[in-house]
């Protein structure tokens, strides 16, 4: 039996029950697309643990992307309105409040990185990949695209090029302040979001619903809270859950923020909690969590941790699931060596503070977004480096891996500071020039493998 048949059988087995279950629920839109989008993943997770491991391990990375795209296609067929977004700190709650589905446009490793007639070769690898997907018709039927403004020059200009080249597309823009949270940045971003909300209403004829907003806030807050715990827990127990499982779920949530994923998350949390309890590490995990959330030193010592190679992965808009897949593909290696990443579509999104309820949703959302760990696109190199220094000074990481996405100014400006800090503290570092197509995969694998071997020898 080939892997596709196996997936099909697993699906068929669960779909009828699933449909029945959701058809009986009030069809608010969150549940509506839970029913639509989540068919495959939800059902694969039902027999938690085994089915998930089994199916994921059967799929190559390209197929994982295909399956999430398939889920979105289904949603689109059901009349869902999907808005693709590119920047990690997108107010997904706002889209949900309008009855729209915000969906992260992931890079596609299978995409041939041809340079279109419209983009020079020095557009960053991330934007080129996404642009190529659009140019080659590889996308699902998005009803609109949200570009961020004022984050980096590549996204700023590619958004403009997109508007011209794909004039049939609805291209929206949400402009961010570059500076961290303050009264003026919060008001600016809040007003940007209010205007975006008006634009969504005009464009899609769907007004902002307070009920939908509250449901969305609770969904996103719950997801973040659970995932934050798992990020902290993995520093102590990097295999529970595996890096791949965790970031797979996080990325899934960004592609389709559905309620069903909370169940999967809850299960991961409960397994992790049991493991921590059994080892007497619950308090330690709690300390780590508090440190990560507040950006303060982690109360942890290497002697308290089970023996394991621990890497800290740094970088910006690198797809964490693709990275996991890369490391898992290396002989004698597993992505579980990544005890923590600080990537944009992973840690930096998940550690966004929860959205507080208030009379003004735009202010609440702006406060949360601007309270997230700082991106390399933002002001605050010193603060970011101070946090990194704190993390490395715990000496719980054996090495750092710095992902530099090709032609990404923010990544490439930040990386030297990271190497310097690691060097000062005496922690080995690996520079990983990377692009979404993993075009130099053999060399990347070789570098990681050699790095891991060196770390092992040094232990």
């Amino acid at each position: 039996m080939n892997k596709f048949s196996l997936v099909a059988i697993v699906l068929l087995y669960y779909i009828p029950l699933d449909m029945f279950f959701y058809a009986t629920e009030t069809c608010n839109h969150v549940r509506f697309w839970t029913w639509n989008i989540n068919i495959i993943r939800d059902k694969m997770y039902k027999t938690k643990g085994n089915a998930l491991h089994k199916v994921d391990s059967l799929l190559s990375d390209g197929e994982v992307i295909d399956s999430s795209t398939e889920r979105l296609r289904n949603l689109s067929k059901q009349g869902g309105t999907i808005i693709g977004y590119l920047y990690p700190h997108t107010p997904i709650e706002l889209f949900l409040a309008h009855g729209l589905t915000p969906s992260l446009m992931r890079v596609d490793p299978q995409m041939s990185a041809g340079f279109e007639d419209s983009l020079q070769t020095f557009a960053c690898a991330f934007t080129r990949n996404v642009y190529s997907q659009r140019a080659h018709g590889g996308f699902i039927d998005y009803s609109g695209f949200l570009f961020p403004g004022n984050t980096c020059d590549a996204l700023q200009n590619v958004g403009d090029v997109w508007r011209q080249r794909f004039s049939e597309d609805t291209v929206l823009r949400l402009t961010y302040p570059v500076s961290p949270r303050s009264e003026s940045t919060v008001s600016f971003l809040a007003e940007e979001m209010r205007l975006l909300s008006k634009a969504l209403e005009r464009q899609y004829g769907k007004s902002f619903s307070q009920d939908e907003y509250s449901t969305a806030v609770s969904l996103v807050n719950s997801f973040r809270t659970g995932a934050q715990f798992l990020y902290a827990s993995r520093i102590v127990n990097p295999e529970t859950p595996s890096y791949r499982e965790l970031v797979g779920l996080v990325v899934d949530f960004m592609v389709a923020p559905v309620e069903g994923l909370l169940r999967d998350l809850d299960e991961m949390v409960s397994v992790a909690k049991s493991t921590n309890d059994a080892q007497g590490k619950a308090g330690l995990v709690e300390n780590v969590l508090q440190g990560l959330m507040a950006g303060t030193p982690l109360q942890i010592h290497i002697e308290e941790l089970p023996e394991h190679t621990r890497l800290l992965v740094l970088g910006g808009m690198v797809d964490p699931f693709n990275l996991a897949e890369l490391v898992d593909g290396i002989e004698n290696a597993t992505a579980n060596v990544i005890a923590l990443d600080m990537l944009s579509f992973s840690f930096k999104s998940i550690f966004t503070p929860t959205v507080e309820s208030s009379n003004n949703p735009y202010i609440s959302l702006a406060k949360a977004i601007l309270g997230a760990p700082l991106e390399p696109t933002q002001e605050g190199l010193q603060r970011r480096m101070a946090f990194l220094r704190q993390l490395l000074e715990t000496h719980i990481f054996d090495g750092i891996v710095v992902c530099e996405q090709s032609f990404c100014d923010p990544d490439e400006f930040e990386a030297p500071s990271m190497y310097r800090i690691a060097d000062e503290i005496g922690i080995p570092s690996l520079r990983l020039p990377i692009d979404p197509e993993l075009s130099d995969r053999g060399r990347l694998e070789g570098r990681i493998q050699t790095f891991l071997e060196t770390l092992e020898e040094d232990k």
């Binding site: 020079q120 020059d153 302040p177 190497y419």
Partner: protein, 401 residues
């Protein structure tokens, strides 16, 4: 025909050397007094000058590095330090010269006490200044002017204006100084006068023959970038304007035999600024306008100076979208009666360059004149393929025969 014969040298160039020298001396003195800022070209310089704080421009310094043809060496110093060779070469040159001033032209820039970045020209400046801050210990003030899509909306105005007030607070605290309104008015007046004379000199190029060529403008723009707000800057532009208007009156062109009038888009390749433009001058090609030097055209004026600064510095050319860039090019082509255009796709500068293929099509569609794109860099000559560029330019020129 020798290069001198094809191209007429500006008398005002001599004054330019004096003003540049004076600017550098002032910067060194300010640094020694603990009173120097490094600032980006799009920064509202009127503010630090009015507060009695010295300024110097790393972008201009990087252009000197380029012009002295040591770009690869100085950028290489930053690369050895870990900065990717894919980054902006202005940033790399400045970082390289900060790391090893003794190996850099003019011994590097004098040490700054603060770094003032305005992201109205690109996002790179913030990261570049953060890197310099790590090396020098000087704090960065970022004046955030988010890009504008169409018009500047009220919340945008309010946000930028708040940033301006915070800037004044930052400088007052850091340099133990105050902002006197009268000083700001005086400095703004000098700045506006210099810009008025500068714009008039640029507009004189609508005449045939054009009194200035690209290289003239790229060199004589230095004071309007670095010294606007100073009295001697006004004097310089008065002298330039007199010479330019004199040329117009006498029917004297920047090149001797003007046959083709082109628009230049983007920063020039500093390492061969004369070779490139004089080479074309020999073929009768003049550039009466370019998008780069026309970017310094906003005058700070009126009763509400903070409001004026907010508006001028938010609405600079590079802070607007691709449509606005195309509009500007179309306007210049019409106003200056140009036959075509050359777009320099500068690898360093994504904000300026990404999207040029689309702009080229839009501009040709709207004006009917042809254009070509050549690729390279403004400082890092390793990225400049002479032969390929010549071929592209030749192909464009053939269209005018």
């Amino acid at each position: 025909m020798s290069e001198e014969k094809a191209y007429r040298r500006l008398e005002t160039s001599q004054l330019l050397q004096q003003i540049s020298f004076r600017h550098m001396l002032e910067a060194h003195a300010a640094s020694e007094d603990g009173n120097l800022t490094w600032i980006t070209s799009g920064f509202p310089v009127e503010i630090p000058i009015a507060m009695g704080i010295g300024v110097v421009y790393p972008e201009q310094y990087a252009a000197i590095v380029g012009a002295q043809k040591v770009g690869p060496d100085i950028c290489g110093l930053a690369e050895e330090y870990g900065y990717s060779n894919e980054l902006c070469s202005y940033a790399r040159a400045s970082i390289g010269a900060t790391i090893k001033p003794d190996q850099s032209p003019l011994g590097g820039l004098p040490r700054p006490q603060a770094l003032l970045a305005c992201n109205n020209i690109c996002g790179t400046v913030l990261r570049w200044y953060d890197a310099v801050s790590e090396l020098t210990g000087a704090p960065v003030y970022l004046f955030d002017t988010p890009p504008i899509d169409d018009e500047q909306l009220p919340h945008h105005v309010a946000y930028v204006r708040q940033g301006l007030h915070k800037l004044v607070d930052f400088l007052a605290k850091k340099f133990d100084t105050t902002m006197e309104k009268e000083n700001l008015r005086k400095v703004s007046q000098y700045s506006s006068d210099a810009i008025r004379l500068w714009i008039d000199s640029l507009e004189a190029c609508k005449n045939k023959p054009s009194p200035l060529n690209c290289a003239d403008r790229f060199l004589t723009m230095a004071p309007v970038v670095s010294s606007r707000g100073k009295d001697y800057c006004v004097e310089f532009y008065q002298a330039l304007n007199d010479e330019v208007r004199g040329r117009v009156k006498d029917g004297i062109g920047a090149i001797r035999d003007e046959r083709v009038r082109l628009l230049w888009d983007n920063i020039p390749p500093w390492f061969q600024i004369f070779r490139f433009f004089n080479g074309l001058a020999k073929k009768g090609v003049v550039f009466p306008a370019d998008t780069y030097t026309h970017a310094w055209s906003g005058k700070v004026s009126g009763d509400d100076l903070y409001g004026s600064i907010t508006e001028v510095y938010s609405n600079v050319y590079l802070n607007k979208g691709l449509e606005a860039k195309a509009d500007k090019m179309v306007q210049l082509i019409k106003d200056y009666a140009l036959d075509g255009f050359i777009m320099f796709s500068v690898r360093s500068c994504k904000r300026y360059s990404l999207g040029q293929m689309v702009t080229r099509e839009l501009v040709t569609e709207r004006t009917g004149v042809p254009g070509t794109i050549i690729e390279g860099d403004m400082v890092d000559s390793r990225l400049f393929n002479d032969a390929q560029i010549q071929t592209r330019v030749e192909a464009l020129l053939e269209m005018f025969v």
